[in-house]
């Protein structure tokens, strides 16, 4: 107990000091993205890992959050920072609608519906040009030149989301979420309104993902439908972050976010320019191999199977 607190304090301190020590914009950028993915991965994990409702469409919430911020700035002339609040709320409303429609059904319907929702939202954002500028995308002016404000905001958002997820999972809601995942009939007979609590989980999950989306709009200052509503780069990435880090653990998605951003960037940059250029095209392939490896040898992810990993390394002299 005490040791884990020391570790948490050490990680927190390291993250706070990181941009003051490492001045490179490039590395700061990577950690900002990783921190954003801590939020999205944790959100996905709350819904899929703990509540057992697997989402293949978290891009819906991410994109809704991003577009809320973008449209506020672009159409209404309000600072895109307002999107941080409103982006979460609109994403949560979208989440509620999807949950209201799908959660009365059991089994894989929710997962299927989320894939469909992702495509629907991407198409809407592409075609409704008067609102979203379509394929042209939305561009705003970045508020800050320095990466530091974005860095600390991302850090705050990641910490806040993890704090909330941890709090929720130690409460009545957390027990209900896991009960629903383990056996919906048993949960219902124990007095748990399963439809309601699946929606509660989805609401929290979509809210934080929407906030991450709004942050992305503010930080990158440019979005288009193929980026923020992407099945591949957002929805699937959210699943990978969760699975590789460790489903149904608080720290899993956080670690998974750093691993995935690291792997993605290593290959995207052709192993930092050392390998031939075609390597950069292969990062999806590497993701696939990574997932196969994790599912075969550490089905509970890096955090979930940590004791196993530790044993493996300690056994060697």
């Amino acid at each position: 107990m005490k040791r884990s607190r020391v570790i948490i304090a050490f990680i927190a301190l390291a993250l706070v000091l990181f941009p003051l020590v490492v001045k490179s914009d490039y590395y700061q950028h990577l950690v900002i993205l990783a921190l954003m993915w801590v939020v999205i991965g944790g959100s996905w994990n709350l819904l899929a890992g703990y509540t057992g409702q697997v989402s293949f469409g978290h891009a819906v919430f991410f994109g809704t959050g991003a577009y809320t911020a973008g449209i506020l700035a672009n159409k209404l002339g309000i600072s895109a920072w307002w999107g941080m609040a409103f982006g979460g709320i609109t994403a949560a409303l979208v989440g509620l609608f999807i949950g209201w429609v799908c959660f009365r059904l059991r089994g894989p319907y929710f997962a299927l519906a989320t894939i469909a929702a992702g495509e629907i939202f991407r198409l809407i954002a592409t075609t409704w040009e008067s609102l979203t500028e379509g394929m042209v995308g939305i561009m705003i002016l970045q508020t800050f030149r320095s990466k530091l404000p974005y860095y600390y905001l991302a850090l705050l958002l990641a910490a806040a989301s993890m704090f909330v997820f941890d709090l929720v999972m130690k409460s009545k809601w957390g027990f209900y979420f896991i009960s629903i995942r383990e056996d919906q009939d048993a949960a219902e007979s124990l007095g748990i309104n399963t439809t309601l609590y699946k929606n509660v989980s989805l609401l929290i999950s979509s809210f934080f993902t929407g906030m991450a989306g709004a942050f992305y709009m503010n930080y990158m200052a440019f979005i288009d439908p193929h980026v923020v509503f992407s099945l591949h780069y957002i929805s699937i990435m959210a699943i990978l972050v969760g699975i590789i880090g460790g489903v149904a653990t608080i720290w899993g998605p956080a670690l998974g976010a750093f691993i995935m951003i690291g792997v993605q960037e290593t290959f995207r940059s052709s192993i930092f320019g050392l390998a031939p250029r075609w390597v950069s095209q292969s990062h999806a392939l590497v993701f696939g191999l990574l997932v196969m490896f994790v599912i075969l040898y550490m089905a509970n992810g890096v955090v979930g199977d940590w004791p196993k990993i530790k044993r493996l390394f300690l056994r060697r002299p």
């Binding site: 130690k170 409460s171 009545k172 027990f175 209900y176 896991i178 009960s179 383990e182 056996d183 009939d185 048993a186 949960a187 219902e188 007979s189 124990l190 007095g191 748990i192 309104n193 399963t194």
Partner: protein
């Protein structure tokens, strides 16, 4: 003044396609009694439980608790009203510990972590499951799982408890413990409806027994009367034994 019955099913029926799984069954349960429900395999006992806790909607008839119809309520609302149940095919929340299983159900009566833990610990102690509290539910043997089902149901503080074959698959020693537990639950003032195949259990603890076959009532009465009933013997052993 007409006394309001504690619990009553009135002419309930359930049709699955062309099959009448339950066909016009009626009975009343008095507060504080152990009410046995017997019948051969496939006679509709578990279906009656699924109708009572509204897992299946009724085809016809009505179910009344404290004088009010509970027809059409949701399963979780039935639990909040004070009707708990166990499942014949046990449904432990596998990847949670025994304590967490019971806490999840205790949250139906209390709101904070501390209160839920306290209620869960008390219930575990009452059901003699306290030594297993930190084990994963999936690691329990069948006797433990059956006991966990009862413990979880008890943590929802039911007035009426539906026990679905909680003694099936137990060895003689475990059987005696199960009978003892059921009696202690009754002594706490919880009314029990019990479905059971093992005659030793049902005959020794039931105050009254209701026998069904093919979804229809055969007879109802004191255990010894039901055991000697011609139709009941026919249903269980075949005509030549009657």
């Amino acid at each position: 003044m007409i006394a309001v019955s504690f619990f009553e099913v009135r002419e309930i029926s359930k049709r699955f396609g062309g099959l009448m799984a339950v066909n016009g069954v009626s009975f009343q349960v008095e507060p504080g009694e152990i009410f046995g429900l017997i019948g051969p395999n496939g006679s509709g006992k578990t279906t009656i439980f699924n109708l009572i806790n509204q897992y299946y909607p009724l085809t016809s008839g009505d179910i009344v608790f404290h004088g009010k119809s509970i027809k059409g309520l949701k399963t979780y609302q039935i639990c909040h009203l004070g009707i708990g149940r166990t499942f014949q095919v046990v449904k432990p929340l596998k990847r949670m510990t025994v304590l967490e299983n019971v806490m999840a159900s205790a949250f139906s009566r209390v709101n904070t972590f501390g209160e839920a833990r306290k209620l869960a610990m008390e219930t575990l102690a009452f059901c003699n499951l306290l030594p297993e509290q930190d084990k994963a539910a999936k690691s329990l043997p069948i006797a433990g799982r059956k006991r966990l089902e009862i413990t979880r149901a008890m943590a929802t503080k039911p007035e009426l408890l539906l026990l679905d074959e909680t003694a099936a698959g137990l060895n003689p020693g475990e059987l005696d413990e199960a009978i003892d537990l059921i009696k202690r639950i009754r002594d706490r003032g919880v009314t029990i409806i019990i479905v059971e195949h093992i005659m030793k259990v049902i005959m020794s603890i039931s105050d009254r027994i209701h026998a069904i076959n093919y979804g229809q009532t055969i007879t109802e009465g004191k255990p010894e009367d039901v055991a000697n009933n011609k139709e009941v013997i026919e249903a269980y052993l075949g005509e030549s034994y009657a």
